[in-house]
């Protein structure tokens, strides 16, 4: 376990967790077999999925490349799929990015066993030209935040990503046997063909295997004597069982665990399908918008909360630099007085600031009068300097910001550290 996770609980915490479980209470108020809230978000270009299981956040991205098939005879017509799990440095400071940690190895191995070896993805459908080119899928699972039940979240993300993934369509010319990979604009990308949907459910074991807790939190995992992960598909078939830790499970417990897991997996799979449905309708709507022409949807676009920035015409902006030279000392003096050129806030913007954050109609943020003030604005001396000195393309002028009082108020979490 990551060192920070091991130290996530104190002895008091562990004793309390075990005692509360004796009365079927968990520290976040759930019952022993309640799952946390699942949220599934699919990327716009179908390349990946981000899922949240409570506070555990995992992102899965799938890439497809054309490669030569494996050399053995039987595999000439099959594509391949490989997994890489990465507990990223966003999780904790101590995450070592150079080597695979134990967690990463275990989860990768479990994904391989339960997804690749049980034949979830139809590998023969990934063949483009037998013996020459096949699709090789790579699944990159990145853990963004670890708050318990990491395996569950990784499986949820991987399966959702496999279901959402669309690979480019490739055709082989019969006569010349040239392979053409069509871009998404030319031909609709093709979904993967999946045979079944396995998902994982993790249980933490307490008190010699008598008390079980489903979908454990980080603290519960640290306080538990052992864990068991069951991978079941929607047809009720067991794809993998992995038990770690010292506590033994009786056979009745194992059966019970599999039964509970099957129920959970059905819920989770239904949720993935619902998320995919909403995603595909949204994509369809976006495609219709693109093809039908934008004039018809200008009104809708206005309501989609694009923010307007009133920009003076290009000629005015471009000529500001040259006016400065002509205007000379008077401009410089005016610039001195108004060293802090603030955009004159349009009437009503300060009152509406909270709604700017939350998708308010674009009409409320029209900075119409800013254009006038900007056009009359004092020429910007620092831009002239930059423009005059331009030679190459990259310019990094780090920090000459005005020293301001950046008060971090009492909300500092680590205030005692410094």
């Amino acid at each position: 376990m990551l060192p920070e996770i091991e130290s996530a609980t104190s002895r008091n915490d562990r004793v309390f967790i075990v005692k509360a479980l004796a009365e079927e209470q968990r520290i976040d108020g759930r019952k022993p077999f309640d799952a946390r809230l699942r949220k599934i978000q699919i990327a716009e270009d179908n390349s990946g999925v981000t899922v949240q299981l409570g506070d555990t956040k995992v992102m899965a991205v799938i890439t497809a490349d054309l490669e030569e098939p494996r050399a053995d005879g039987g595999r000439q017509r099959e594509g391949s799929i490989r997994f890489k799990v990465d507990v990223g440095p966003t999780v904790s400071f101590a995450a070592d990015t150079t080597r695979l940690s134990e967690d990463e190895q275990l989860i990768t191995r479990l994904l391989q066993k339960a997804i690749r070896n049980t034949g979830v993805v139809d590998l023969e459908a990934l063949c483009v030209s037998a013996g020459r080119k096949v699709w090789a899928l790579a699944v990159y699972v990145t853990v963004l935040d670890h708050a318990g039940a990491l395996v569950d979240a990784c499986f949820l993300a991987t399966m959702a990503a496999l279901m959402a993934h669309r690979r480019p369509d490739a055709t082989v010319d019969a006569s010349t046997s040239d392979i053409t990979v069509h871009s998404p604009d030319v031909r609709e990308p093709v979904p993967l063909s999946l045979h079944h949907t396995p998902l994982a459910v993790t249980f933490a074991l307490f008190k010699e295997g008598d008390d079980l807790v489903m979908d454990p939190l980080l603290k519960e995992e640290a306080a538990a004597g052992g864990q068991v992960t069951v991978v079941v598909n929607t047809a009720g078939q067991v794809c993998a069982v992995q038990q770690l830790g010292g506590l033994g499970l009786s056979l009745e417990q194992v059966m019970r665990v599999v039964r509970i897991a099957a129920g959970q997996v059905e819920d989770a799979a239904a949720q993935i399908r619902a998320a995919l449905d909403t995603h595909s309708t949204a994509q369809l709507a976006a495609r219709v918008r693109r093809q039908q022409g934008h004039a018809a949807h200008a009104a809708k676009a206005k309501a989609a909360a694009f923010l307007d920035v009133a920009l003076p015409p290009l000629s005015t902006l471009a000529s500001v630099a040259f006016e400065a030279d002509a205007a000379g000392p008077s401009a410089a003096a005016q610039h001195q007085e108004d060293t802090e050129m603030r955009m004159a806030p349009p009437p009503g913007v300060p009152a509406e600031q909270p709604t700017v954050v939350n998708a308010s109609p674009a009409g409320s943020t029209q900075l119409q009068d800013v254009s006038d003030s900007a056009a009359r604005a004092t020429p910007d001396a620092s831009f002239d300097a930059i423009a005059a000195r331009i030679a190459g393309t990259q310019l990094t002028s780090a920090g000459e910001g005005k020293a301001v009082k950046q008060k971090s108020r009492a909300r500092n979490r680590k205030s005692d550290a410094w």
């Binding site: 920070e4 990327a43 716009e44 270009d45 390349s47 990946g48 506070d55 992102m59 890439t63 890489k84 440095p89 966003t90 999780v91 904790s92 070592d96 693109r290 934008h294 004039a295 018809a296 200008a298 009104a299 989609a304 694009f306 920035v309 009133a310 290009l314 902006l317 471009a318 500001v320 630099a321 060293t339 802090e340 955009m343 806030p345 913007v349 300060p350 909270p354 954050v357 674009a362 800013v370 900007a374 910007d380 620092s382 831009f383 423009a387 393309t393 310019l395 990094t396 002028s397 780090a398 920090g399 910001g401 005005k402 020293a403 301001v404 009082k405 950046q406 108020r409 909300r411 410094w418």
Partner: protein, 246 residues
């Protein structure tokens, strides 16, 4: 980039592929404090570009290459830009260096000698203006972590289309087809006593251009970027205010 000059109801401005006019920014949100174990975090979503920034620090560099880099007089800033697929290409490494220089400029490093401030930027999805979002997210996460800063900044990017129009907040496709793209970060200040809202300073904290453009165009693009940063600063300020209110 697809600018149709067809008249839309109520507007005669030509529209881009996603229905925006040339001067409209995409919808964006900034959420602070999402990660449990990090000192500061920010999720910056601008259109289709989502960046998760996580800050750890100031803390002790006890292992790995960071221990060798410990400086007895100031804090060392380490930035890690992670791509979606987890493999870091040269583009991510270049962004890493860029963001590190920008962040080093605002962090008051002398207050934490021999410490390490680690900023991890995870790209969740990309759709144009990636460098600008990286910078804004890094700054928001630093503020959330409470690291002493001289100022904080927001960044924005504009593209000069092949027809010579300025497009604010260009998407990935527009950036590809553009003549030149400029990304710049500007400091923003909070006028707490008068409560008139944030404003954007005159000085560019960081600037990155790509493509060929005339001096006049560069000037115009920088001005345009600054104006859009002023708009984005309102959001950054609002999200910070929300955190303190709750």
């Amino acid at each position: 980039m697809d600018q149709r000059a067809g008249p839309g109801p109520g507007s005669s401005a030509p529209r881009r592929a996603d229905g925006r006019t040339a001067t409209q920014l995409r919808r964006y949100t900034c959420d602070l404090g999402l990660q449990e174990q990090a000192d500061g975090s920010a999720l910056w979503q601008q259109g289709g570009t989502h960046i998760l920034a996580v800050v750890h620090g100031p803390t002790q560099p006890t292992f790995g290459p960071s221990a060798r880099r410990a400086d007895p007089e100031r804090a060392v800033v380490q930035v890690n830009v992670r791509a979606k697929e987890g493999i870091q290409g040269h583009q991510q490494k270049a962004w890493q260096q860029f963001v590190r220089k920008a962040v080093e400029g605002i962090v008051i490093a002398k207050l934490h000698p021999k410490c390490l401030i680690k900023v991890v930027l995870q790209i969740l999805s990309e759709d144009g203006a990636v460098l600008a979002c990286l910078l804004s997210a890094a700054s928001a996460a630093l503020v959330d972590a409470g690291i002493p800063l001289t100022t904080s900044f927001v960044a924005s990017s504009c593209a000069l289309s092949s027809e010579g129009n300025i497009l604010l907040d260009a998407s990935a496709r527009e950036e590809q087809e553009a003549q030149a793209v400029v990304c710049a970060a500007f400091a923003y200040h909070l006028h707490a006593p008068h409560d008139e809202g944030p404003s954007v300073g005159q000085h560019a904290m960081a600037c990155d251009t790509s493509g060929r453009l005339s001096v006049a165009s560069l000037n115009a693009l920088l001005q345009a970027t600054r104006l859009s940063c002023a708009q984005i600063a309102l959001l950054a300020h609002a999200s910070l205010a929300d955190v303190y209110k709750s």
